[in-house]
Amino acid sequence: MTFWGALLQNGAYQAVANTLFKSQRRQFWILASLPLFWIFFANLGPIVEMFWIGFLDSYPPKVGHEPQFTLANWAAFFQDRVFIIPFFRTLAFSFIFTAITLLITYPVAYFLAKHVSRKNQLLFLLLLLIPFWVGEIVRTYAIMILLGNNGAVNLALKSLGLIDRPIPFMYTGFSLGVGIIYLTALYMLLPLYSALEKLPDNYLEAAADLGAGAWTRFRRITLPLSKEGIASGCTLVFLISTGYYATPVLLGGPRSTVFAETIAGFFHVAGD
């Protein structure tokens, strides 16, 4: 007998299977058990716990002191400049980086989706993908080398005779931007590409037929039809770029401290 045949004919297995599959309802809940547990325990649990702690007056719990419910932490957060400035700076940075990423990647995605033949599209896309497999730290380091005082950019500018002394790119909002965009561009590129790729060529041809100029065609057809791709790309890039920690530490300077660094700093002291 083969393995599966033996299993199905096995009395003990049949007994177990009979109880498991007794009704559609039971089968559904057995199938649902692990996913629901995982989603509520592992996905939702940490987030809920974190919010909950935000309302406690002391954390980690001290001996002999029951944590009290309080809004003080949230009040402190919105009053303390140490928190609030990096917080809004992070939002502003992420917003700007997202906008720049969109401007840079839109033509790239458009070129890929519309001007590269089907056969080559995968190859060209692969070319874009490869650098994104490399981790955050390694890529951040690569940017450090690029922008350093003796880095490739300064070297190139110097040898072209444009500058005498190296420009201090590093540890500024600029270097941080170059790094973050380097890390997140893919999350913009892929949604844009898949939105533009679905856009049928004959829409544009029809519009051109009706006498629409290049700019009109772009504004009235391409842009609205790729709106979904733009929206999901921007959301992803925005969210992800607020979450980097190592990159701001390594590339940013004192005047570009982001929220991640602040909370990480506080976390190591207390843990709020």
Partner: protein
């Protein structure tokens, strides 16, 4: 073993609803062992739903399904001695032909040598021996169809379900496979439950045809019954091409009903129906039963007519003939060499009739 005329399946007053849609409406029928039964009907009439209830893929909303004397209504598919040939064949793409055919045997707990023997036997029977180690994507449509058949036959089911299994084949191959399939059914002696919406296919293969319409059985009988003695307008129209004649009964004779059709007198067989004089009835006049002559023959059913159009359809040509005075008294006939295309023409025929 069950005898030749034993009931193998009893569909006992089964109704199936999907929300508000009644897909199958109080279906009650029996299938005999060794029969080739075909469910025929237009799209959406509930054929597949009936078949899927037999296979165990849908649960009836009401009624029972009895298989060989056992109520299997609430049994899952894996507990039923019923196998299915799917419309898309549903061959497992990651298994070879041999593995596909062995699959059901394996799960039944058969020993290796037994599986091997039965698989080889079936592959041989269906002329697939050379393809044993190929995967389904290396086969042609007809070969895949045969593998699906072999796989379904392997566990030796009491009933074989086939849901439009020839739909994916091209017209030429389909005709050939129809004959093969009927032959396989005869040689294995298995009960086949076949679903199609192609009336020609049904007529070619079946021992019995069940015509369905909107979840109900319209008529059930041999192909000849349905073709020559349709019991409703729906069946007459659905099977073959026909002329429907709406008339009033003038009188009933011993083997014939005489109709008044737009002032013309038409005689036809009542097939057991004896409508009263004055009733409005519809009669069906098959195209091939209309013969045309140059001179009006001394026949009671002969009427004069005029050819108004000719349609060439390859193997045959059909003629539209206006008979009598009225614009809408048109009869379609098949053109044969015996007929002369000269005008005016006289047509005659024998009509099957039925109350409407």
């Amino acid at each position: 073993m069950t005898g030749e005329k034993d009931t193998i399946v009893h569909i006992d007053n089964v109704t199936k609803r999907f929300g508000n849609v009644v897909a199958v409406d109080q279906l009650d029928m029996k299938i005999m062992a060794g029969e080739f039964v075909t469910f025929l009907g237009p799209s959406g009439c509930g054929k597949s739903t009936t078949l899927r209830m037999l296979g165990g893929f849908e649960n009836p909303s009401e009624g029972r399904i009895v298989l060989d004397g056992v109520d299997v209504t609430s049994q899952p598919p894996n507990r039923r001695d019923v196998n299915m040939v799917f419309q898309d064949y549903a061959l497992f793409p990651h298994m070879t032909v041999g593995q596909n055919v062995s699959f059901g045997l394996e799960l039944k707990g058969k020993s290796r040598p037994e599986i091997e023997r039965r698989m080889a036997e079936l592959l041989d029977f269906l002329q697939l021996s050379g393809f044993r180690d190929r995967t389904p994507d290396q086969l042609s449509g007809g070969q895949r169809q045969r593998v699906a058949l072999a796989r379904a036959l392997a566990p030796d089911p009491k009933l074989l379900l086939l849901d439009e299994p020839l739909g994916a084949l091209d017209a030429k191959l389909r005709g050939q496979v129809q004959i093969e399939l009927k032959d396989i059914q005869k040689r294995t002696g298995k009960t086949f439950f076949f679903v199609t919406h192609d009336q020609e296919e049904a007529l070619t293969m079946s021992d019995r045809i069940v015509v369905m319409n909107a979840g109900r059985v319209e008529q059930s009988g041999t192909p000849e019954d349905l073709y020559f003695r349709p019991e409703s307008r729906f069946v007459a129209e659905f099977i073959g091409e026909t002329n429907l004649i709406n008339g009033t009964v003038r009188g009933v004779e011993e083997n014939a009903v005489v109709l008044d059709w737009n002032g013309l007198s038409v005689r036809g067989s009542g097939h057991g129906h004896r409508p009263a004089a004055g009733d409005n009835v519809t009669a069906s006049l098959r195209l091939e039963n209309v013969t045309c002559h140059n001179k009006k023959p001394a026949n009671q059913n002969a009427v004069e007519g005029k050819v108004i159009s000719k349609l060439f359809k390859g193997s045959r040509t059909s003629l539209d003939i206006r008979v009598g005075e009225r614009e809408d008294s048109i009869i379609r006939a098949i053109w044969t060499l015996a007929m002369l295309p000269k005008l005016p023409m006289i047509s005659s025929g024998l009509a099957g009739s039925r109350n409407v």
